[in-house]
């Protein structure tokens, strides 16, 4: 069986006046219908990897890969038109902060309807019904009211639910979630993750969960890819994270304060130059 997504030697390079910046330097992994976590610190290239898969890399950057295949078809060989048809329909993306990723001058309902009608030929009334039932599926209590609200009128958690509803309405097979809960409060964070988790398992989607939070990823995902300086340093099942071998993964796990552990001073991560090579 071909995997849903096959990434082999993905590279993203930004040419600048002072030379090339290699944001992603040869990332390889494959994804089935599972939850894959990509973890790393800022600048590790985790978001750039997600954006390259989605096809949202800015035009000045150069994306190359031996294979970047979605459902067996190489996305780098597609025309922009074919790529556009994929985006939003079969591959969806959730961004970090609903405050910036939702259109501030459109109501939440009309944004969801727009997404649906861009990908499927449905009547206005049917689109509205499906949007309402989708809002209900992301556990929004009063979908009719929220449908007519603008993004600034809802809380962060509600906005992120609306975002998830919008992304799921076209029934994607692959969902890329780039720090979907980092802007939310901890208790809301878990609600949103619960919704995402349920929908991913009921729809049989593949999920790429990009986060800096190793603890969250290890409790949410099936498999974890750890990135450092644009490269994958380690790939392992989430349940095996405490047995991680790479000193970077171990250091990252170790340097977080834990409730109930009395460690003063905290162990700090001693970065080694050879990790980046």
């Amino acid at each position: 069986m071909t995997p849903l997504l096959d990434v082999d030697d993905l590279r993203v390079t930004y040419p600048t006046r002072t030379g090339e910046i290699k944001a992603v330097r040869g990332v390889s992994f494959s994804l089935g219908r599972e939850r894959l976590g990509i973890v790393g610190e800022s600048g590790s290239g985790k978001s750039q990897t997600g954006r390259a898969i989605m096809g949202l890399t800015p035009p000045q950057a150069v994306v190359t890969a031996r294979t970047l295949a979605f459902d067996g078809k190489d996305m780098l060989k597609m025309t922009p038109r074919e790529r556009r048809a994929l985006r939003g329909k079969r591959i969806a993306m959730i961004l970090q902060d609903p405050k910036y990723s939702l259109d501030p001058v459109m109501t939440i309902g009309s944004q969801i309807v727009e997404t649906l009608r861009a990908h499927e030929n449905v009547a206005r009334a049917e689109a509205r019904d499906r949007a309402l039932s989708m809002l209900e599926a992301v556990q929004i209590r009063d979908p009719k009211r929220v449908f007519n609200l603008h993004p600034h009128e809802v809380s962060g958690g509600m906005g992120q639910r609306a975002m998830i509803a919008m992304m799921l309405i076209a029934g994607p097979e692959l969902m890329i979630a780039d720090e979907p809960t980092s802007a939310l409060d901890v208790t809301v964070q878990l609600d949103v993750l619960g919704i995402l988790d349920r929908l991913v398992s009921t729809h049989g989607m593949g999920l790429i969960f990009i986060s800096h939070d190793l603890r969250l990823v290890s409790s949410f995902c099936d498999r974890v890819v750890v990135m450092y300086a644009g490269k994958v340093v380690e790939q392992l099942p989430a349940s095996e994270l405490h047995n991680a071998e790479h000193p970077y993964t171990r250091g990252l796990l170790d340097c977080m304060p834990k409730i109930g552990a009395d460690r003063h001073p905290l162990p700090v991560l001693a970065r080694k130059a050879e990790w980046a090579t």
Partner: protein
């Protein structure tokens, strides 16, 4: 020991919105005290009220035994300094580190700037090589070190910390937390620290207050929190949330 910060029935109202509703708090000198809560709980407002950055409509704040009026004088800011959450926003983008550190000295008319700046930079682990850089030439962790140096240069006795590490990566967070503990030990500082991260607060603070909707939920020691002896439901929920995601197989509804 006397109270470094003593707050009684503090109320902060923005228009008609009660950001803080009758909060009382005592922080001993040399203590490290944590404020925990979600957004909108009033934890940052409490800190800003102490610093004189929020409109206090009722209640009193005393610092080192002195009751504070609506305006803070210079002497107050020599005792109390603040470190903000976002090191990208709290440093002047067009001033060098040297200029940033000179500013508080100039405001308070303190001489020996040269030695003080040297010492402050050394103390936060930035060599003199960083002295003439601009903030955009520094990483997030280095910026937060500059912000700490700027707060320490007036030799205050109380440091107000508003989510000092939440904009930083985990590995950098560990370094900054260690630095804060070190300067606290070396100078016998009092910390009042705000964070949404229970693990950070239990690591840094001896006692903490859980807040919600501008009110106190409960006050407990870090040791009690570590052994999960929180009496309030809300605190228990926060504790559970900080453990990470838990999958409930029973709640799956067929799609």
């Amino acid at each position: 020991m006397s109270a470094a910060i003593s707050i009684t029935d503090l109320q902060v109202v923005y228009d008609r919105f009660h950001a803080l509703n009758g909060v009382s708090l005592e922080v001993e000198a040399g203590e490290s005290f944590g404020l925990v809560g979600e957004s909108g709980s009033g934890k940052s407002t409490l800190l800003r009220a102490v610093a004189g950055l929020a409109p206090v409509s009722a209640g009193t704040i005393s610092v080192n035994g002195q009751k504070l009026g609506p305006r803070r004088d210079k002497a107050f800011y020599r005792q109390v300094q603040m470190v903000f959450q976002d090191p990208y926003g709290s440093l002047h983008p067009r001033q060098t580190v040297d200029r940033l550190l000179q500013e508080p000295l100039a405001v308070h008319g303190i001489g020996d700037g040269e030695t003080r700046i040297q010492r402050a930079l050394d103390e936060v682990g930035l060599g003199s090589g960083f002295r003439f850089r601009y903030s955009h030439q520094l990483s997030g962790g280095q910026r937060q070190r500059v912000a700490i140096a700027r707060a320490l240069i007036l030799e205050p006795s109380i440091l107000l910390l508003d989510e000092p590490t939440s904009a930083l990566d985990a590995s950098v967070q560990a370094e900054v937390l260690n630095l804060l503990e070190e300067v606290r030990r070396a100078r016998g500082l009092t910390f009042l620290m705000v964070s949404h991260d229970l693990a950070v607060v239990t690591h840094m603070c001896g006692r903490l207050m859980v807040m919600r909707n501008g009110e106190t939920v409960e006050m407990l020691s870090a040791a009690e929190l570590a052994t999960r002896q929180a009496s309030h439901d809300y605190t228990q929920r926060l504790l559970a949330a900080s453990d990470g995601f838990v999958r409930h197989p029973g709640t799956f509804s067929p799609g």
